[in-house]
């Protein structure tokens, strides 16, 4: 098991190092190497998965790293922990990463930094795998931060233009604000549990060492960090901007790395999340799900729609976790990973074909021109809409709704409404892009199906978007023992959702099905068959709302006013305080001391006064040859003071 785990980490790490330092000189600029290394990780992950499915015990190993506890505690460690959850994450991450690598070999062709792109893709995968394999919170945090670095590098991959540079910075800083929660959680947990290791933390929660208020603070801290990484309102603002990165990066960020990290974190730490924390998790999730759905409705950029749909779907995952439907949230993470990667790569294929046109208003009728892209995309749309029984998305979303129904009915209704929205805006996207008549003949003429290295990943993901709900993942996440392990120690009284056997109750399922179908049909009707004029008439009463949605509820403007401007203002203010206030005071004291000293010692050396003149900030004269004399004057002054003090010391020493 250790060998496998180290292969998973080591192969892409080696790939990164080689690619980063030597990639430029490799034939084909090394893309094949990185595809191979990530494939090796994938194979190892599958083997691990198989052994976990075969009932293997969780695997754990840790090594002492360093010991800052002064012998009073245990050394800080790094280590590897593998259980069912890890195995699922490993397979999802490596599979999606592999397909994204493969897709990129064509998509990025011709980019001057081709080799570097693959280097950072590798590092992105490594960071995420470090995070997933970690056996303790501090170690996990390192993967977490490295994920942040790689997203910075990749979102800003084209940062010779201003927008990607801004987006990259925004992503890093916004997630870093979330990370403050993580830092506090780490400190609070270490202080109470005396360790960062998952098992010891959970043990401490069980024994009561990790108790209120710290368990609640830690829980909120972890969730705050997850909100940053997984783009939950109000920290979601970076994710749509992150679309400035190359499209394969978006696929990776939205499916397998980065945003998945927050969901995984909360899933992993279920045992220490108190009911208060979970309620907040669920509420934030539901609110985000609906809010992002509204915004997605009013976007015209194909990637922006997908971006907000990710924010929305992540909301569902947190809703699932928050209502205690642990498996459902994580299950949705896996199915979403497949269908969202599918749709992002599909949109990449479209953008590639349309010569980097992303505006859906210029598309239309592409299904005939790009059948593979179009039909696989449809699979993704159906999956995210939760078309019953055949798509993976149905099973996972239904499970979340069932959980909400049991625990927080109000949120259930929100989520149900969100499900209608989801189906509606996704069908809007599909209809505008692939159906109907071409709206821009020029773009349409250019369009062509993408090469095999791009369509093969689409086909694989398309198949997964449909089938992933039937197979092994469902099994491992619903494995009662794993669930019991995770849930058994959840803080008091929160094992409400039965014994976590989610009866897919008829009513809940029926409503979910209705919601999905309603949204899909509605979307199809409105955006495919309703004419332009009729559509405009339909939209007219909602014009105000549409504007609000289109402006994304004004979060960016709000933050500019309440956070960025004040921070800059404060910075400028502090700078003035520092230069005029603190330094000014120092100068005043300096002048006073000099005057006193001069008076006391009776020195009238003009040079000293001269020096003090400089001290108060006069522009010094360029003294050229005179400088030496001047300095020796000051040094004489210095030496005399020093010697005086030293002499005093000696005298005093003598006396005593």
């Amino acid at each position: 098991m250790l060998g496998l785990a180290l292969t998973i980490l080591g192969a892409p790490l080696v790939g990164f190092v080689i690619q980063f330092f030597l990639g430029r000189r490799l034939p084909g600029q090394g893309a094949w190497l990185t595809v191979a290394t990530i494939f090796a990780s994938f194979v190892s992950a599958v083997v691990i998965m198989a052994s976990q499915l075969g009932g293997a015990d969780p695997f754990h190993i840790s090594w002492a790293w360093f010991d800052p506890s002064g012998g009073g505690g245990t050394p800080w460690t790094v280590g590897i922990h593998i259980d069912g959850l890890t195995a699922v994450m490993l397979v999802v991450v490596t599979l999606v990463a592999f397909l994204v690598h493969l897709f990129s070999t064509s998509y990025m062709k011709g980019d001057p930094k081709y080799y570097l792109f693959f280097a950072w893709l590798q590092m992105f995968s490594v960071s995420m795998l470090v995070l997933v394999l970690a056996d303790n919170l501090l170690h996990l945090f390192m993967g977490w931060e490295l994920v942040g670095l790689c997203s910075y590098k990749l979102i800003g991959f084209w940062s010779e233009k201003p927008a990607p540079g801004n987006a990259a910075r925004k992503a890093f800083i916004t997630t870093r604000i979330g990370d403050l929660g993580m830092v506090v959680a780490i400190a609070a947990i270490y202080m109470t549990a005396g360790s960062f290791e998952f098992s010891k933390i959970f043990e401490a929660a069980r024994s009561g060492a990790l108790a209120d208020p710290w368990i609640t603070i830690a829980g909120f801290g972890l969730f705050f960090a997850a909100m940053g990484k997984s783009a939950q309102a109000p920290l979601h603002v970076w994710l749509p901007d992150a679309m400035e990165g190359p499209t394969p990066v978006s696929a990776l960020i939205h499916a397998a790395t980065m945003v998945a990290a927050g969901v995984y974190l909360i899933g992993r730490f279920m045992p220490i999340l108190t009911p208060d924390v979970l309620t907040v998790v669920a509420t934030v999730g539901a609110v985000t799900a609906v809010m992002a759905g509204f915004i997605a409705l009013a976007q015209d950029d194909i990637k922006k729609v997908l971006a907000y749909s990710t924010v929305s779907q992540l909301g569902y995952m947190f809703l699932g976790l928050g209502v205690g439907a642990w498996h459902a949230g994580l299950f949705h993470l896996t199915t979403h990973a497949f269908f969202k990667a599918l749709m992002f790569l599909g949109s990449g294929s479209v953008i590639h074909a349309c010569h980097h046109e992303q505006d859906m208003r210029k598309m239309g009728g592409l299904l005939k021109k790009m059948p593979i892209t179009g039909w696989t995309f449809l699979a993704g749309v159906l999956a995210i809409a939760g078309l019953p029984f055949i798509t993976a998305g149905f099973f996972s979303k239904d499970a979340i709704l069932a959980g909400a129904w049991h625990r927080l009915p109000f949120l259930y209704w929100m989520a149900l409404f969100g499900a209608v929205l989801t189906a509606f805006y996704m069908m809007r996207l599909f209809a505008m892009t692939f159906l109907g008549k071409p709206r821009d003949q020029h773009v349409h003429d250019h369009a062509h199906e993408s090469p095999a290295s791009m369509t093969i990943p689409l086909l694989i993901l398309g198949a997964l978007a449909i089938c992933a709900g039937w197979g092994a993942w469902h099994g491992i996440l619903l494995n009662p023992e794993i669930v019991a392990d995770a849930m058994g120690v959840t803080a008091t009284g929160f094992k409400t959702v039965g014994d976590l056997e989610f009866e897919h109750s008829g009513l809940v399922a029926a409503m979910a099905i209705t919601a999905g179908v309603l949204g899909l049909l509605g979307g199809l009707y409105v955006f495919r068959f309703m004419g332009g004029a009729a559509l405009d008439r339909l939209k007219r009463p909602f014009a105000g709302l549409e504007k609000v949605f289109h402006r994304k509820f004004g979060f960016d403007e709000l933050y500019r006013e309440i956070a960025m401007r004040p921070a800059y203002g404060l910075a400028k203010g502090f700078r003035v305080v520092d230069e005029k206030g603190v330094d000014g005071a120092v100068n005043v004291i300096g002048r006073f001391a000099r005057d006193t000293l001069a008076a006391l010692s009776g020195r009238t050396d003009r040079r000293v006064v001269d020096g003090a003149v400089h001290l108060v900030g006069w522009v010094p004269r360029v003294l050229g040859a005179g400088m030496n004399a001047l300095q020796s004057g000051r040094v004489r002054f210095y030496l005399s003071v020093s010697a005086g003090v030293l002499a005093l010391a000696l005298v005093l020493g003598r006396i005593l």
Binding site: W65, G70, L146, S159, R176, R575, R634
Partner: protein, 496 residues
Amino acid sequence: MLSLTIFLPVVGLLLCWALPAKHARAINVVTNVAVLVLVLMVWGGMQGMETLQHVEKADWIPAVGIQWHIAVDGLSLSLLLLTAFVSLTAAIASWGIEKNPRGYHMLFLLLLTGMLGVFVAMDLFLFYVFWEIMLLPMYFLIGMWGGPRRQYASIKFFLYTLAGSVLLLAGLILVRMGANTWSIPEIVAMAKSGQSILPEGVNPSLVFVAMFIGFAVKVPTFPFHTWLPDAHVEAPTPISMILAGVLLKMGGYGLMRIAYPFFPEAAAGWSTAIAIISVIAIVYGAFVALAQTDFKKMIAYSSVSHMGFVTLGLAAGTAEAINGAMYMMLAHGTISAMLFMIVGVIYDRAHHRDIDRFGGLAWAMPKYFLLASFAFFASLGLPGLSGFIAEMTTFIGTFKSDSQRWAAWASLAGIVMTAAYYLITLQKVYLGKTPAVYQDKSHYPDLSKREAAVLVPLALVTLWMGIWPATAMNLYAYFTTNLESLLKAATVGLGS
């Protein structure tokens, strides 16, 4: 061997003086290499880190009991290594100094002697002598080889440090009067056993404050930091590297070696006040850094911000916090040396440091960009690099301290602001479209071999300290453990 290490630079200095000026820079580099080798040999010759070793003791001024007393333990060794290493990189960075090279390199070597001496002196008087020896060359190096406002900056540096030194000296003399010895280990032992080390009627709390300010000027802790931006901005690049990389650490070292062990009760009593100024340094320093347009000044304020963690860790007083504080000294030593070199590289080419007037350098100078972003991310605390270990350990340790936990919470704002000012600078200077002027390879060549020889070793050490912190931490861990128990006992003593 220790004496040889300290005085080898003086030999180099004499050679510089005796031989033609054109050899001065080579002599400087060779001397620095030899010093580093000697320090490594000192390390190799040590049996464990706990005790004072390589002890050399001889009467110097017997009339007043002053001794030539030098020795190393793990704490001193870690800083000797830092000094020798950073000094070597700075010596390489000094290769291109054209104005009066003989004088420059002589002063540089004198500075090295002073710095090495401070970290091994075990006699208070000797400590003070080295402390002062180091001031003079620094003053001249800034004042004669510095930028346009060098005179103002050097005078300011000088008077500031002098004021600090006077307070420090007053404290040292009082200790000498009370303890009747100059020997640091003896005084520490006396303090530990509860004996008074001050003359009767002298308030230890005030003496501690005097010493603290004396050292805090060097750290520099808010509000004693305003000499630093001016000194840095005017100092030539290699001197900035030394200033940030080594000189600031002398303040932290003084606190750990002298002020805290001498007066643990007073230190514990003042811990909240120290935590307050530390938090101000961290947060306020970060904000002021954000508002800078001068690249070098920005880095200087980031030093103020980061060094705030050193005093914060000491104020918190838990083992993790003190270990983190000491780790910050070492991590900041190498990272800030890198950062100042990075500013120097671009200043040499563009002849200005205005952040707003750069842009797009990444594509014109890819190697330089790689190392610059490495240093930026190291400084903002990216895992895998040394800054992360230092910040996290200090933060966690401070959080653990019941009395100063608030300071950990308060310092959080600094973490975000640090990311903000680094990323904004990174974007303004390196990203964006490359103007045609930067594509001119004759004016904007990528890193030269010599510049790479300065930056790459610093980067490797930063990386190693981030991946395997035990190497450095094990050197001084015993010392911080002792200090923690001393402070803990003192705090208990205060309560009762």
